[in-house]
Symmetry: D2
Subunit: 228 residues, 4 copies
């Protein structure tokens, strides 16, 4: 089940201490159980240092949180797409709000991912930027209005028209790009709402990682998917 299916719940581990090292592995195992029990695709985006270990032990598609637009060589301290691939990742987040990159680099990274058979999930902040990104043919676009990230107020409730507009305008430009939505998702009904607005899944972080019961929350999200 390492292949990606939609709808997908993609969990960004960020640099949360609750999702670093051994705790990253524990969280990954919980996600794996929920995925298998509910038959739902759950993707994981742990820190670079945890990718190898997780992809070896856990049967879920794993993503890097970022890759640099570089070729192999003299780029000390940077993230080589090939390194992420060899570590077992199936894809990468690109242009997350906490790691925005330049337009020319988004183009370059999407192309590098395509050549390496890595799934690209490009994060965007609004409808315009989503449409602009869609022309570059990423695998996924994950729209996250920055003002809602970490608030617990889901974009699907606060600004549903942003999601539906993005889905319809992205489709016109490029029907092959799947739209995810993120920011503020904490309950099953937020996931349901996101799917009903036309998205193919959700990008979550604190709503799963920082909760005391990530397994319960992920189960709620997974079951919400199957009610749509």
């Amino acid at each position: 089940m390492e292949a990606i299916q939609t709808p997908i719940i993609l969990v960004n581990f960020k640099t949360y201490i609750e999702a670093t090292g051994k705790k990253a592995m524990l969280l990954a195992r919980k996600a794996e159980r929920v995925s298998h029990e509910t038959g739902t695709c759950i993707g994981l985006a742990p820190q670079y240092t945890d990718i190898t270990e997780i992809t070896r032990s856990v049967d879920l598609p794993t993503f890097a949180q970022h890759v640099d637009p570089i070729d192999a060589g003299s780029s000390t301290g940077h993230i080589l797409p090939e390194a992420v691939k060899q570590a077992g990742a199936v894809g990468t987040l690109v242009n997350h709000s906490e790691r925005r990159i330049r337009l020319a680099d988004i183009d370059s990274v999407i192309q590098r991912c395509r050549k390496l058979d890595l799934v690209s999930v490009v994060c965007t902040n609004n409808t315009n930027v989503s449409v602009s990104t869609a022309t570059l043919e990423p695998s996924f676009i994950a729209i996250e209005p920055p003002e809602l990230i970490g608030t617990g107020v889901p974009v699907s409730k606060a600004k549903p028209e942003i999601i539906s507009d993005t889905v319809s305008r992205v489709r016109k430009v490029n029907p092959d790009v799947n739209v995810l939505c993120g920011a503020g998702i904490t309950q099953g009904e937020d996931v349901t709402a996101a799917l009903k607005l036309g998205t193919k899944g959700v990008l979550v972080a604190s709503g799963v990682v920082k909760t005391k019961e990530p397994e319960r929350v992920l189960t709620e999200f997974a079951e919400a998917i199957h009610t749509v």
Copy 2:
């Protein structure tokens, strides 16, 4: 022998494809053999994704190539010092010429490293910047004149006075900081020259990683250390 001893040969894997994934592990094992056979401290600075695997399997002190000046939390795509520590690294390069950081961040990273018991190896480009860095009390300073990196022309030959000046001026400001030198080192005699100028070792990259016989080169470097 995971503890760091001086003189040290510190090998920066950069993002060379010859030092990524499985090839990183192969190179690490070769370095381990040389270290054990010659009784020389060899440090490794592989890519983030390879740290966990190498520190588990190879009995050499391992370094990250960079860490970000962040606390755990919302820093998607960044390098958390705690993550590097949990992956088994004993230290990190800081401010490499291919990953320069801001002055306030060098100060912050050195302090974060100290708290986490990580060795900080701060790279510098000239004597002035080395002295400036020494006041911040890093574990090591590695001076690498950028114009010599990757050239095969060793700083110890091209500009020996840069090394000796740096060593003496750094000592005045902070006698506890060890100075390494890098850039252009490809032969045993370059290592010998570096030590004679007062350094406690060398920071090497292409001279080891890009050669066809890294084991032979490392052995030459290690033996050169023991002639001083």
Copy 3:
């Protein structure tokens, strides 16, 4: 004639010493003479410190080389769009290859320019990025393949299909955006070729600024425009 007309010759002064301070003013006056004598629109993009003086004394549309995506406030050292406007500029370059910005910032800057009635000239490196940018509705797109900048090899000769493809694909996405082309333009025939490929003008720098006879070169460019 401060209003912008197409075809336009837009001269980027960069940070050339030959186009700084008093020399910037001399160059601006030469461009003004050519503009008036040939009836051709010539735009100037001097350094920030020279904008006020040039817009007061010279009757040509003047552009900033960059603005930051900021609102007025605590942004020491940054470029406030309102400051550029008050200095007399009619527009600004955005995302020049020597000053690339993030995708979300390109979107933000284009919108800020629209509100302030500033013309936005967004620089791009290839056709994909041009199309992506066109969806954000800038005033102009200036495509400059980075590998040709400063070479004296004009993109209109080396890679004419890049220009014609860009023009046609941009038009499909947004027929209101004018395309300029840059990189390597040194002769009248380069300008002619650019216009024949569907562009509305050229973005030039060293080809004018670094020549001994900028007035002669600009005249050649201007006359080339009128032959099309």
Copy 4:
């Protein structure tokens, strides 16, 4: 009186709309009146676009808010030290908390300033970084604890030991560097306190620019200087 004297009151105009364009000129004239009436050195750091006009019309030493560590050439959108000099500035802020730069660039900018006979005022965030900076021999160090900027709580009251420690440790490393202090200064007594702690003046921004009576506030600051 364009030459710099200490104690100095250095006013950072930031990108405040109240200190942009014509309003920058009005503020500069008010500062000039206070300077002349009280015999106090007041320096101004307006936006780049306002430097030329202010230095022509106002008899006060004027600073850029930042310069880039570049030589003349292909650096579109960047700040050339020579451009700032030709515009009439006598110096520049360096490494302001809103425009931090890399350590190697601080070194490079200080040296560029020295060659161009520009005064360098390097901003720092704590004592360690101030000492580190002092070894690079800038003209001034302006310490501004970031957590106090814009608060109205003066560092001289909240953390007086930071100022006195900085002054004494900087002196040991380099007795030629003058220390200024900034952050939270709104009253004459804050200025008095700063000088008594060993500084040679203050760096102020909102406390002057955002007040309704900048002339009254500056006069209060100036008179406070003369009471020490």
